[in-house]
C-alpha cells in the first residue's frame, strides 16, 4: 500500500486519477481502517487528506453560511458555538455517530462518502441544503449533498474526484433544523430510521421546508411530499398528521436485523412529526 500525503486537493485528485488499483481517501479513518482490518478493502493507494491546508477549519462564507473542512471531526463541530446556533440539527446528527473516541476523528465528508443509507449526519446536511465541493482532474464542481450517495457503499463521484469541502447555506432569520433517529438503546448504535427537518417561518406559518429520511431506502431521501405537507401550515395537528402520512409513503425500507419494513415505515412517520416540532420550536426561538 502506498500512503500519500498531498498538500493540495488538485494533487490529491491527480494522484487518484493516476491510480490503477484500489484507492481510498483517508480523513478520519473511522470507516476506512475498519474496512482494511476486516479485509473488505485492501487499498493499493491511500491518500491522506489531512496535510492539505484548511481541511481542519470551519469558516464563515462571504454569504454567511459555513464552509467545513473535510477533516473537521465531530467533536470540533459540537464545540463550535456559532455553528451549533445556526445548524443544531446538522451538528446533532454528526454527534450521534459512534463513541467519544470516534467523534475525535470522524468527519461529515467521510460519513457522506461511506455511503451508508443510515449515516446519521447525512439527513441533516440534506435537509439543510448542504453542498459538497468536489475536486477532480478537470477542476472543481459543486454538488448538492443528496446527489453524492448512489447506494449502500457507493457514491456518484467519478474516478479522481474527491470532496474538498462541505458548505452549509446561511441560516437566515426564523429558521430551525433538527435530526432524530431511532435505535433500540441510547448510544453506540446504527439508525433504524433517521429523519431531519429544516424549516423557515413567517410568523407562525411554515414558508420553507426540507425533510430528509435516513435508513428507509438505498440512499438518504429528500422528500418533497413531506415538505409540501407542512409548507403553508402552522404545524398544527392536521399538518403533523399529513407529514407523518407523507413520510410513511416515502419510506421504502428493507427488513433486516435492525427492524422490519413495517416498523421502519411507522417510525419514519413518528420521527418526522417529532423532528418537525423541534425544528419549529427552534425557528420560533422557544427551544434550543
Amino acid at each position: 500500500m502506498r500512503y500519500h500525503t498531498p498538500t493540495s486537493f488538485a494533487d490529491a485528485a491527480a494522484i487518484a486519477a493516476g491510480t490503477t488499483g484500489t484507492l481510498r481517501f483517508l480523513a478520519g479513518g473511522t470507516d476506512v481502517l475498519v474496512q482494511m482490518r476486516a479485509g473488505m478493502v485492501q487499498p493499493d493507494d491511500l491518500i491522506d487528506l489531512k496535510h492539505i491546508p484548511g481541511v481542519d477549519k470551519i469558516e464563515r462564507t462571504a454569504e454567511g453560511g459555513w464552509r467545513i473542512g473535510v477533516a473537521v471531526p465531530g467533536i470540533v463541530l459540537g464545540g463550535h458555538a456559532e455553528l451549533v446556533r445556526d445548524w443544531p440539527g446538522v451538528v446533532e446528527g454528526m454527534n450521534l455517530v459512534g463513541s467519544t473516541q470516534v467523534q475525535g476523528r470522524a468527519t461529515l465528508a467521510g460519513n457522506l462518502c461511506n455511503g451508508s443509507p443510515a449515516a446519521d449526519s447525512v439527513p441533516g446536511m440534506v435537509a439543510a441544503g448542504a453542498v459538497a465541493t468536489v475536486t477532480g482532474p478537470n477542476g472543481t464542481r459543486e454538488i448538492p449533498v443528496e446527489n453524492i450517495p448512489a447506494g449502500p457503499g457507493k457514491t456518484n463521484l467519478a474516478k479522481g474526484e474527491v470532496i474538498s469541502a462541505i458548505t452549509l447555506p446561511p441560516r437566515g432569520k426564523n429558521g430551525g433544523d433538527a435530526y432524530l433517529r431511532f435505535i433500540p438503546r441510547t448510544e453506540m448504535d446504527i439508525a433504524v430510521v433517521g429523519c431531519a427537518v429544516n424549516l423557515r417561518l413567517d410568523g407562525d406559518k411554515v414558508v420553507e421546508a426540507r425533510v430528509a429520511l435516513g435508513a428507509v431506502a438505498p440512499t438518504v431521501l429528500l422528500s418533497e411530499a413531506c415538505a409540501k405537507a407542512i409548507i403553508g401550515t402552522t404545524l398544527d395537528d392536521a399538518a403533523l398528521a399529513a407529514l407523518a402520512k407523507a413520510a410513511e409513503g416515502e419510506a421504502k425500507p428493507i427488513s433486516d436485523k435492525r427492524g422490519t419494513k413495517e416498523f421502519r415505515i411507522d417510525v419514519a412517520g413518528v420521527l418526522a412529526r417529532r423532528a418537525a416540532k423541534i425544528a419549529y420550536d427552534r425557528a420560533k426561538g422557544t427551544s434550543k
Binding site: M1, Y3, L26, D48, I75, G98, T100, Q101, G104, M188
Partner: protein, 162 residues
C-alpha cells in the same frame, strides 16, 4: 514494501520508528515502543481498550495509522501516573472498579480526557462519555463511582491550589 519514518512525542518523550504503511498507531505503540498498556480489544473502534489522546483529543489508536501520528503529541496510559498514581487510578483501585483489568487503561485515559474538559460531570455525562469503553466483567456502576470520586478529589485539590 517501503517503511515510513515516523517522528512523534509519546508521553512527553520524543520517539521515532519505522512503520509499515498499513500499521496502526496501536500496533506501533505496542510493538515498536513496547508500550503495552494500551490494549487491543476489538480492533474496530467499538470497545475503547486502545484509547489514547493525540494532540489532546481522545481517539481509538486502532483507528489511526501510525504514519498519521507523525509530528503529533500522543499520550498513553503509561504517562498517566507521575510521582504517584493519578487520582483516577487510585480511585479505581479503592472502588474495585475492575476485575480482569483489560479495559481499564482505555477507561482511565478516556475518563481523564473527560475531567480535563468537564471537572464536574453528572453521572449521565460520565456514562455517555464512556459509552465507547466496554467492560465485560465489572459492570459500570463501580467505574462511574470511581470516576466521580476522583473528580471530587481533583476539584478539592484544585481549590486547595487556587
Amino acid at each position: 514494501m517501503s517503511k515510513i519514518h515516523v517522528t512523534t512525542t509519546v508521553n512527553g518523550d520524543p520517539v521515532e520508528f519505522l512503520a509499515d504503511p498499513r500499521e496502526t498507531l496501536l500496533d506501533a505503540l505496542r510493538n515498536h515502543l513496547d508500550l503495552t498498556g494500551t490494549k487491543e480489544g476489538c480492533g474496530t473502534g467499538d470497545c475503547g481498550a486502545c484509547s489514547v489522546t493525540v494532540d489532546g483529543t481522545l481517539v481509538c489508536s486502532c483507528l489511526m495509522l501510525a504514519a498519521e501520528a507523525n509530528g503529533k503529541r500522543v499520550e498513553t496510559i503509561e504517562g498517566m501516573a507521575k510521582e504517584e498514581l493519578h487520582p483516577l487510578q487510585r480511585k479505581f483501585i479503592e472502588h474495585a472498579a475492575l476485575q480482569c483489568g483489560f479495559c481499564t487503561p482505555g477507561i482511565l485515559v478516556a475518563a481523564k480526557a473527560l475531567l480535563e474538559r468537564n471537572p464536574d460531570p453528572t453521572d449521565t455525562e460520565v456514562r455517555y462519555w464512556l459509552a465507547g469503553n466496554l467492560c465485560r466483567c465489572t459492570g459500570y456502576d463501580k467505574i462511574i463511582r470511581a470516576v466521580q470520586d476522583a473528580a471530587a478529589e481533583m476539584r478539592q485539590e484544585h481549590r486547595g491550589a487556587a
